[in-house]
């Protein structure tokens, strides 16, 4: 059965996903786009009203993970091995943060991902992400 992100995110709106207010936006052959609407509860720097980095990293992790399944064509049990986030600038207070994760290569047991997050203009990103996922049983 091919992997359907819309169905995954419709079924999985509990736990940390619900706490962050994570929303599903869309997908392509090898990418998934999610969003987190601004909420006071997500703020990490009250003096500036800036959303904490944790929610952005969590969103990019989820988007990149689903992007691997899209490129692979189906769900495979895997876990994040590493994730690097460069914070290009602070997200503007009040803005929804949109994150797109992409999988650009799947090897035998490691998948390579990248992505960006923005707060309204994809050409002016707030964060750049690279990372890897590992499938214990391999991507077969």
């Amino acid at each position: 059965m091919p992997f359907d992100p819309a169905r995954l995110f419709a079924a999985r709106l509990g736990g940390h996903y619900a706490a962050l207010g994570l929303e599903y936006r869309g997908y392509g052959d090898d990418w998934v786009e999610l969003a987190i609407p601004y909420a006071d509860a997500l703020v990490g720097d009250p003096s500036r009203g800036v959303v904490a980095s944790g929610p952005i990293l969590a969103m990019m992790d989820v988007a990149a993970s689903a992007a691997v399944w899209l490129r692979h064509g189906r769900f495979v049990a895997h876990a994040t091995l590493d994730l690097r986030v460069d914070y290009l600038r602070a997200a503007a207070p009040g803005r929804t943060v949109v994150g797109r994760g992409e999988c650009y290569r799947i090897a035998r047991s490691v998948a390579f991902v990248r992505g960006q997050a923005h707060d309204g203009d994809p050409a002016d990103p707030i964060a750049n992400v690279t990372g890897t996922f590992m499938a214990p049983e391999g991507y077969r």
């Binding site: 509860a41 969590a58 590493d82 994730l83």
Partner: protein, 130 residues
Amino acid sequence: MTPPFVLPPYAALIGAAFDRDEAEPVLVMPFSDAVLGRPGFLHGGAIAGLMEMAAIAALRHALAVEGGGRIKPIGVTVDFMRGGRDKPTRAAGSVTRLGTRVANVEATAWQDDRDRPIAAARMNYLLDRS
């Protein structure tokens, strides 16, 4: 230990608080639905968020001695080593280098045994000491 700063709203969202039994800044986060990823396991994003706050706590602690300053995150690299299970998670940061303009900080997260971390992170921060 006196907490080096007031934790932001995001800390309350994931249930993180300072562990007052510790001499250094250590954050503790109970297992709860708010930090649940796949069934039975912590979400990696919550572990990373906890480590980032622990890193900032360690950095504020170190900066306070030198008169304080503003901190801006430049980047973080997180290694996930073990799945986080249904038990409390702790995280602590360690300032590797406190420069004039940049600080390099490491953080680890663990559950039962500090010597068996579930995740580790390296962060770089820009400092404004003016």
